[in-house]
Amino acid sequence: MKYQDQELLDALAVDFILGAMKGAARKRFQRLMMASPNVRQTVWRWEQHLNPLAEGLPATVPDKAVWQRIQQRLGWLAPTATPATANSTKYWLALATAASILLAVVMLRPILYTAAPQEIAVIQSSDAKAWWLVSKAQNRLHVKATATVTDDAQHDYELWMLPANGQAPVSLGLLPQQGERLLEWPTAADGIAIAALAVSLEPVGGSLTGAPSGPVLFTAEIVTL
C-alpha cells in the first residue's frame, strides 16, 4: 500500500480516528504513525478538524467518585481512603472473618435477622488470602479488591454466577484490580438459585464468547447474612 499518497492517507487517518479501522490494520497504522512524521501529522490535522464536533455536546458532570478513583490509580490516595469508606479495610477484614464464623451460626439467622438479607462472598485463594469482597444488595453487587489482587494489565478478572440447576455460567461483570466497583445484577441471572461464584482470567474487556474462556482461578460460595 502506498502511504505517500496524501489522499489515501487522509482516508486512512479518518478511518483510524473514527474507529472504522480495526484489528491488524489499526496496529499497522499505529506503527506507521510512529515511523512517519507525515502520517502522524495527518492524523493530528484530522483530529483538529473533527474534535470540535465534541464542543456541541452538553457537558455531563461525572460522579465525584471518579476523581477519587483517578487519585487512587495515581497512588495519591490509599485505595481505601475515600471519604465514604474510611475504615473499610478494617471493616471488610472483619467482615471476611465474620463471614466464616457466621457460617457456623447461620442456623440462628431467622432469630437474629429479620431485616432485608444481605449476601456476601469472599473470593479467596487456596492459601486463604482474600482477593475480592463481594456483597449483593437488591440488584447491585458491590465488589472490592483487596491489596492481594495481582495487577494484570494484560487481562481482566471476570466474575461469574454458577446456577444451581447446572445451567451455563452467567457473567456478572469484570472485577476491579484496585479499589471498588458497583456491578449491576444482570436480568439474565434473576430468580436463578446460585450454587457459587467463579472468577476466570480473561482478555482485557472480558470473555468474548459469553462463557468463561480462560482458566477459572477462584470459586466462592455466597453467604446470606
Binding site: 482516508a11 457537558a59 471518579v66 483517578i70
Partner: protein
C-alpha cells in the same frame, strides 16, 4: 476563547511538571465534556466512567508529550478519551442494535451543562459548523454517527437503511469536502 486555551495550556504544563493541583483544575474544567464524549460512544455510565478514569491517568502520565502540533489541549484530550473508548467499545462488542442512537439532543444531561466555553475549541467549532452545514444531510449524518457513536460503516447502514458502499462513499466524500472547506 484564546485565553481558555491558554489557561488549559498552563494547567497542562504544570501537570507535566508534577503539579497535582493544576491537574485537578484541568480535570474540573474538562471532565464534563470528556465524560459526554465517552458516554456518547459507550452508552453505559459505568464503562464511560472507566474510560474517563483511564483517560485522565493517561493525561497525567503523558502531559509532557503534548505539543501544539497535536492541536489544542482540549482536542488532544478528546482524542485520548475517544481512542480509549473505541478500544473498550471494540473489546466489549457493543452492538448498535442495543443502543438508542436517536437520543434527543436535550435530554436530562443537558441540565448538567457546565459553562462550556472554558473549552477553547469554540473558534474551530464555528468554522466546523459552517463547513458541516455545507454538506448534504446524508454526508453529515454519517459523519456524526461515526464520530459521536463510534458506529462502524456496517452499523450505519442499519441505521440509515442504505447500502454499505453508499455509506462508505458518503463518509469519504463528506470528509473530503469538509477538509477542503476547513483548510480553505
Amino acid at each position: 476563547m484564546e485565553q481558555s486555551q491558554q489557561q488549559l495550556l498552563q494547567w497542562l504544563y504544570a501537570t507535566a511538571q508534577g503539579n497535582k493541583q493544576a491537574f485537578e483544575q484541568l480535570y474540573q474544567a474538562t471532565s464534563g465534556k470528556l465524560f459526554s464524549v465517552s458516554l456518547h460512544l459507550l452508552r453505559r455510565h459505568d464503562w464511560a466512567e472507566d474510560v474517563l478514569q483511564d483517560a485522565f491517568v493517561r493525561i497525567w502520565h503523558n502531559a509532557a508529550d503534548y505539543h501544539a502540533e497535536k492541536g489544542s489541549v482540549m482536542s488532544w484530550m478528546i482524542s485520548i478519551t475517544r481512542y480509549r473508548a473505541l478500544d473498550l467499545l471494540k473489546s466489549r462488542r457493543v452492538k448498535a442494535e442495543h443502543l438508542d442512537i436517536s437520543e434527543p439532543e436535550h435530554d436530562q444531561t443537558s441540565n448538567e451543562v457546565q459553562p462550556g466555553e472554558v473549552i477553547g475549541l469554540v473558534r474551530d467549532k464555528v468554522k466546523l459548523d459552517d463547513c458541516m452545514q455545507g454538506l448534504s444531510d446524508e454526508h453529515r449524518q454519517s459523519i456524526q454517527l461515526a464520530y459521536f457513536n463510534g458506529l462502524s460503516h456496517q452499523e450505519i447502514t442499519a441505521h440509515t437503511g442504505s447500502a454499505l458502499g453508499t455509506v462508505k462513499s458518503w463518509i469519504r466524500r463528506g470528509l473530503t469536502q469538509l477538509k477542503r472547506c476547513l483548510e480553505a
